[in-house]
Structures are given as C-alpha cells and as structure tokens.
Symmetry: C2
Subunit: 370 residues, 2 copies
C-alpha cells in the first residue's frame, strides 16, 4: 500500500516540512491534523540500522503542546490522569495516561512541568486540547488552555548527545532521562528534553517559534555531518521491538491504562482524584482480562498492518495485532497485541491471520523483544 496523500491546509505543514522536503521526504502520516514525515526513500530496515548506529533528525512537530496555565492548572492536569503528579518538580517530564470517566484512554501524552501553574501536554493523536477545554469550561476552572507555537524536533540515536553537546554546550549531558533543560539558539532560549520515541537515546528540542524551524534543522544538520546524520522518523521496527506503544494503534478509548502495564503509573489508592478512578478501581479489582504482549511470527516479511489482524489459539480469538513488521535482527515478524489472560504467557503458541490471507505460526513474547 503506497497510495498518495492529497494535501490541503487542513493537514498542517510544520516549521520543518520545507527542510524535510529538501532532505527528500517521500511519505507522510497525519497526526494531530499535521504532517509527520514517515520515509525518505530508504527502507524502514535501512533506517533502523542507521538509527541504532548513528544519529537522525526527526520532524515530530505533530506532537503538539496543549498548554494549561493558571491557578487551577495543576488541579485540572491531575483530574485528567490517574498518575499522581503532586510531587512533580519543574523540569521533569512524565508519561501520563489520560482517561475519561470510563477509564478509557483519551491520549497518552508526555507532561512537562514548566512552572507550578504551567504545564505542557505533548500529545499523541487526539484533540486533547478540546477535551481539556471542555472539562475546564464545564467545571468553570480558572485556566487558560491553548496550543502554543511550539514544535518538537527529535534528535535520536547513540550519537545524539555528542552532536548536541558540540552544538549547544556540554551542559546538555547533565540532563537526566525524562528531564528537561534549556539551550540558547539564535538569540532565543529553547527547551530541550532527554526523551524521544526510540530506545536509542536522544533528545527533543521543543522549538518555540516556528519561524526558526529551517534554521534549527540546518544547525543540527550541519553539526551532524561528522556523525553521519540522516533525516528519519519514528522507526516501526525499532519501536515495536522496544515495545513502545502508539495511541490510535495499540490503544484507543476502548482500552484502559491497566491493559498496557502502565498500572504502575496509576495511583488508585484514593490519593488521587481523577476522572476514571472508580472505573479503573473496579477494573483493577476484577483483574484485567487482557494485556499488551509481543507476538513473534513466521512466514516471511508481513504486509503493512492497517487494520487489526486476528490472533488465535486453535479456533479461539485471543487477541489482535495492531502493529507489525519484519525484524531483520530477529529474522521474524514482530507484532504488538492485547492478549487474553489465559494465553498471555511468553511462549504460548498462536496463529496470526494477516491481511494477505496467510495464516502464520507464532508465539507470545514479553516486551521489549530481546
């Protein structure tokens, strides 16, 4: 499947799109009504090996920020997530599942605490801004909620730290994982976090000021010449192997955070008053009936998983693959699936029923794939 994308203003360009085009972008996805470059003419496998060895620059401006500020900002953010953020410090990032009253997931952003009364939610693909606005207006909260002109540029891969230390100063080496600091760029102060949608290490620069997009890309690009930098994007092989989940793919409003092993981020003991708490408590007490797992399966490189593929044990449906790709390292396909409780132990034999009509033998695996 490689059909065309028809462009319009509604599918917003990013501050880095022109740079991505100069770098030879050939395919996009759409996230938060914005273009996400997804390929530059090389194979996903070539990008995968490159990402594991060198450094890449990714236009992930589609990770839009929902800025919540004001006297009730901390209260509202806490109301939206079962994760206890009362001890959060300025300069820290938190992965926060956002749930509605049923415990269903509405988004799974990274929260950045900028001040006691100012937060960014760096969002996956749903209009979290509208949900937060609705909650605030319905409840009459004293907050301002908007989408600032802030666009993340990710620099990922084992050489990212050295590249960025060369470019912006050695102090960035002191930024801990899921912490953020600041750099000077072109007379402006910019937020930089040690984070990103890969396990190969790296940073995300939350560029404040879209007009600087081309300059920032070029600066990183120039500094990256000695590190074999390439343009890239979240890599399907790497993210599935790493067990990194994608909202809209693995999780929707049909799912609770408990199903993704992120119960460890949920405080359901009563210390947190959040929207989905009662529903999640009930679910936790009953015991979850399915949970995310890896599935290794055979039959040669699988096609693109654009709709869920049944996972069976004999005739019984026990799950559905929501993302899958051939792993050149493991020499098998790797997929992500919620798996029913009775069948979720690693090693469980399953069959995967791919869109190409093939039935493929496979087995349940722990995550990340090793």
């Amino acid at each position: 499947m490689a059909d065309g994308l028809n462009f319009s203003r509604r599918l917003r360009r990013t501050p880095f799109t022109a740079s991505a085009e100069k770098a030879g972008v050939t395919g996009f996805s759409v996230v938060n009504h914005m273009l996400l470059p997804k390929s530059y003419g090389r194979s996903v496998e070539e990008d995968y090996w490159h990402l594991r060895e060198h450094v890449q620059v990714w236009d992930v401006a589609c990770q839009r920020q929902v800025q919540i500020q004001g006297p009730d900002a901390a209260w509202l953010v806490q109301w939206m997530t079962p994760r206890d953020i009362s001890h959060a410090k300025v300069g820290e990032c938190f992965y926060v599942p956002i749930t509605d009253d049923t415990g269903g997931m509405v988004n799974d952003p990274v929260l950045l605490k900028l001040a006691e009364d100012r937060f960014w939610l760096s969002t996956a693909d749903s209009d979290l801004l509208l949900f937060a606005k609705g909650l605030a207006l319905g409840r009459g909260l004293e907050v301002t909620i908007d989408e600032p002109d802030v666009s993340p540029l990710a620099i990922q891969g084992p050489k990212a730290e050295t590249l960025l230390a060369d470019l912006f100063g050695a102090h960035i080496r002191d930024i801990g994982f899921f912490k953020f600091g600041w750099i000077d760029f072109s007379g402006t102060r910019q937020l930089i976090a040690r984070s990103g949608y890969s396990l190969q290490g790296g940073f995300e620069i939350y560029l404040d000021g879209g007009h600087l997009g081309g300059d920032l890309w070029n600066a990183v690009w120039q500094a990256g010449q000695t590190f074999e930098i390439a343009p890239g994007c979240p890599n399907l092989i790497e993210r599935i192997e790493a067990g990194l989940l994608s909202y809209g793919n693995e999780m929707t409003r049909e799912n609770t955070p408990l199903e993704f092993g992120i119960a460890k981020f949920c405080s359901l003991d009563g210390s947190v008053d959040c929207l989905g708490r009662e529903a999640l408590l009930r679910a936790a007490e009953t015991g979850i009936s399915r949970q995310i797992r890896g599935v290794l399966f055979d039959g040669g490189p699988c096609p693109t998983c654009a709709e869920p593929w049944p996972v069976r044990v004999d005739a019984r449906l026990v799950g559905q693959i929501t993302s899958a790709v051939w792993s050149p390292r493991l020499k098998r396909n790797v997929g992500l699936s919620l798996i029913d409780r009775s069948f979720w132990d690693a090693g469980q034999a399953v069959t995967v029923h791919s869109v190409d009509g093939t039935t493929r033998d496979g087995e349940v695996s722990d995550l990340p794939f090793t």
Copy 2:
C-alpha cells in the same frame, strides 16, 4: 505534490475502503483519524464535469457521528452552538457552528435530531466527541456520548434521486432538503438525508452497521450502472465554486462564525445560552473586521494550496487564500479567503502570492462563484 501516505491502524479504514480500493482509489486524505478517498486516477476536472452531469458514490464515513443522548442531551447541544435549536423537530438536519468560550470555531457539524433526547453531530475534522465529553463531565450532565458504528455514504449528482428512488423506493423523493427519512436495506432500517458536500443535489445514507458497507456500496453501484455512476469524492472545484467551507481549511479556532456569514445561524439576542455568546456579542457589536469571500485570479492553473497564500492590495496584506483551484468553467482560478473589511467588496483588485513564487492578478468575488 503527490507524496505517499503511510498506512497504519491509527488512520482508520472505513466500511467502504475495500470497495473504494476495488474501484481504483489512488489518493486519500485523513479526516477524524479515518481515510477519506480523494481520487480515483482521474483528474479533479474530469470528476467535476461528471459530478455535474451524472451521479457519484462517495465514501465519507470520516464524517463521524458524535451521539449525544440522555435527559441533558438537548441542553448540552444547545450550549455548544449559538444557533437556536429549541424549535428543531425530529427528522431535521441543522448546520451548527460549534464554538468555545472565545467564540472560536471548534467544529461545524450537521446536527441530526433523532429524538427529543438523542442527537447526532456529523462532524468535520476535529475531535468534537472529546469536547462534548469534557463539557459533560465538567458540568456533571446526565448524558451518554459515544461514536456509534455509523458511516455516511454520499450519493451526489443530478441523477442521485432517481437512482435512489429506483433502489429504495419513491418515498425518498419526498424527503426535503436537510431533512431525513428511512430506507430498508438488507433487513435493516437506515437513515437517509437529503444533504451532502456539493450543490449538485443528492443524499447521504448514514449506514448503521459497518459490516454492511460492501453490500451497500455494491447495491448503489449496481443500481447506478444505467446512470453512468462513478466513484468520487468531495470535488475541490465544485465545492470552491459553490462557496462550501471546510473546517481546518477556511476556518479554525482562530475564527468566529460571524466571519463566514453564518451569523444568520446565530441567535445572539439572549434567547440562547451558549458557550461563546458573550464573545460573539462583543464581536458583532464591534463589527467584524474580515469575512469570507471568493477570489478570482489569473496566471493559469495554480498549484495545490497546502498553506495559506497572501492576498494583497498594493503592499497591504488583506487576506489569505486557504483553498484554491483552476475552474475549467470560469477559465480562472477560484479561491476562498477571509478579506479585510475595507477591501471585501466584489470587484476589488488584489494580487495573490502563490506558493510557486508567482504574483497573480485577481479580484474579490461574491460567493458562490457564478
């Protein structure tokens, strides 16, 4: 620009996608996290002439329904829109601008009143479901809000009525514009409205039950053989000529309904208690500073408008084109732009600064283009 779209489950397939693929779809857009077929290998111009003469079937399942039901449903719907819906009758459709507290547009759906306590909002491209959920949860309203398994299929063009009367019965001829009735299909009762995103006449079937998608497409397709039916999609030439607006293209949260001449749908006299009322009242009293207009411009067929193009009078910026295309009928380019008050009269000379670097002479036009 004809770059590829990278598929994933997150970009949801519709109940009609497989049929669209069999019919030769070659390009998509993404609306409400769902695929919208945008071309079938013919030019936009060929599709335009065909739509004006014959009949087309469009997969517009991406117009997702936000279903709001319960004792507080009518109150919530009224709270979200400045349009007075207190006199709405079951069986009627209403174009309802949805605004936040600033009067900024959040969506511009078609409202279908199914019962006194049950509504569908057939949505443009933003997560109106999350906004409505937030409002209801924040305010503690007694409503249920969900996205039912309902997927509109549009049948558009001058031959649509005869085709559908042949297929489903002559009673559909009695359905008035922006009214809905019911048809029997494959043992189910399905909603059909006289509506659609063109001015060529036609209907939308709100298919309840995605598993029937292929069957419904096939039934329409077979019945359409004597009417020269073709697969199609909202046609850029036709919709711009008609002055049909697109949320995310012409309008965003930066805009109020007043700027689009839809003040006629707003009841700001105090009879309606809605979210943006005070802001809209202030804006109406001050007098709006810009309003939507057509722009006719020269220089041969323009490129795709994927980001706003400046519209100037001498050196002064007076607007920005947000959608544009070559009109084979008018032999000029037609565009849509908000235009500043001092320059919005029809006939005003302007220049359009297209992405291809050209400066094109043009003039302001009333809408629709005639």
